[in-house]
């Protein structure tokens, strides 16, 4: 047993880890932004009037949801160049993680959309609203409220999945810890600190999500 925590090393690598934390947060934020929009597109496409589109999008979402994210990251990173598209690790990583969570968020949105009462649609039809206005001004705002808890959970989820981006060389926390480990031949401090940092970010975020959910419920009188 040679457990000896080195505080000198801890302070030495801390700036690098904090810098990488910023990258992790950036990756999670940008990936989530892609997923927020992508998920809405997937959710709306599953309500298209044309049957085959509905079916194809449904299958695509199921496919993304039941295959591993790491594999998808590798797929985007290595396959895009075969079709002549050169993607940087950041771009392909964000694309993959954004797409993956789009599929998850589309399920959350779908639940929200289905929870909007029938009468709202009929009222829009009755006052001769265009399909566009119906969705963007009446339906989507109401669908978002019940979707908030699910959306919050996936915000925490995407944060915890960003370490997978290290496999294609995105300089986030796990990547930094790995290279620190191989430079100093010590894995105890970097890996433990990374775990701690994740814990310190995800626990308060989960707490905030719960608080927001309660506020929303109170605000809506539920």
């Amino acid at each position: 047993m040679n457990f000896d925590w080195s505080w000198t090393l801890t302070w030495e690598i801390m700036p690098r880890l904090l810098w990488a934390t910023a990258n992790t947060l950036l990756a999670a934020g940008a990936g989530y932004a892609i997923a927020l929009v992508g998920g809405l597109i997937f959710a709306l496409a599953q309500r298209a009037a044309f049957g085959p589109i509905r079916w194809a999008v449904r299958e695509f979402v199921e496919f993304i949801r039941s295959t591993p994210l790491v594999l998808q990251i590798f797929f985007v990173f290595y396959v895009a160049p075969q079709f002549g598209i050169q993607l940087s690790p950041w771009t392909s990583g964000l694309l993959a993680i954004g797409l993956h969570y789009s599929a998850y968020l589309s399920e959350v949105y779908r639940g929200g959309l289905e929870a909007v009462p029938r009468g709202q649609w009929e009222a829009c039809r009755a006052i001769n609203m265009s399909a566009r206005d119906t969705y963007f001004r009446i339906i989507i705002p109401q669908a978002l409220v019940p979707a908030v808890p699910g959306m919050g959970n996936y915000l925490v989820g995407i944060l915890k999945d960003t370490p997978m981006l290290s496999v294609i060389g995105v300089m986030e926390l796990m990547h930094a810890a790995n290279s620190i480990g191989s430079e100093h031949y010590r894995y105890l401090e970097p890996f433990t600190l990374v775990g701690l940092i994740f814990f310190l970010i995800s626990l308060p975020t989960a707490g905030l999500v719960k608080l927001l959910e309660r506020r929303l419920r109170l605000g809506l009188g539920l």
Binding site: T67, V70, L71, F74, F191, F199
Partner: protein, 221 residues
């Protein structure tokens, strides 16, 4: 290279990888289910020490990410004198991680068993252990099986990470083929499809079947 030739040439390697993924999956499920039962029931314990331990475990494993835990167990645990081979470290990390998520499902399901069932068991002067085993758990299992189906698919996806500590699973083999042939679309595409079929053809239908079987035993089907 057309996909047909590719499959002929590499199917044996991919099949071997799929087999390792299967093993990792089954072993990780065993770990996850045991951990989930112990921690889920422990979280409802009256003893604050047991309850506290379970809460800390669940929050710790849910609050940090699986990849961090995997690396920690594989690279850092040896410093504490516990050296695990990569295969073992792989399924144990995956199992411990998803077990923490499962514990919350177990806790929720146990709490969802109607109060009257507990009281009736107590009235028959059943011991707490017999009450849990014979009255509460069988009903809780019926409640928690549907979310477990989703969790098992998540767990299957989680096993792909063990390739990063060089367990020769499906993901690992796909990476190897990609590295030696640059046939990225074929290698990763085939692996994606195998994972998809695994989830859709094996896990989802067997969980459906299990739900029916449990409902039948409880006389609810």
């Amino acid at each position: 290279m057309p996909i047909w030739e590719f499959l002929q040439k590499y199917s044996s390697v991919l099949m071997h990888g799929t087999w390792v993924t299967c093993l990792q999956f089954v072993l990780a499920v065993l770990v996850a289910v045991s951990v989930a039962l112990v921690m889920g029931i422990g979280k409802l314990s009256a003893n604050p020490l047991i309850r506290g331990t379970c809460v800390v475990y669940i929050e710790l494993f849910r609050g940090t990410s699986l990849l961090v835990q995997l690396y920690w167990i594989f690279f850092v645990l040896p410093l504490f004198g516990i050296t695990l081979p990569n295969f073992t470290a792989g399924f144990i990390s995956v199992g411990l991680n998803y077990g923490a998520y499962g514990a919350e499902l177990v806790r929720g399901a146990i709490q969802a068993v109607p109060r009257g069932q507990w009281e009736a068991a107590t009235a028959l002067s059943m011991s707490p252990f017999a009450r849990m085993r014979r009255i509460v758990l069988p009903q809780a299992i019926a409640i928690m099986l549907p979310p477990w189906g989703n969790l098992l698919i998540e767990l299957l996806k989680g096993t792909a990470l063990v390739s990063l500590i060089s367990v020769t699973d499906l993901m690992f083999q796909a990476k190897q083929i990609n590295a030696s042939t640059y046939l990225s679309a074929q290698a990763f595409g085939t692996a994606l499809i195998i994972y998809y079929l695994f989830a859709r053809v094996l896990i989802t239908p067997s969980m459906r079947w299990a739900e029916h079987a449990v409902a039948r035993r409880l006389g609810r089907s």
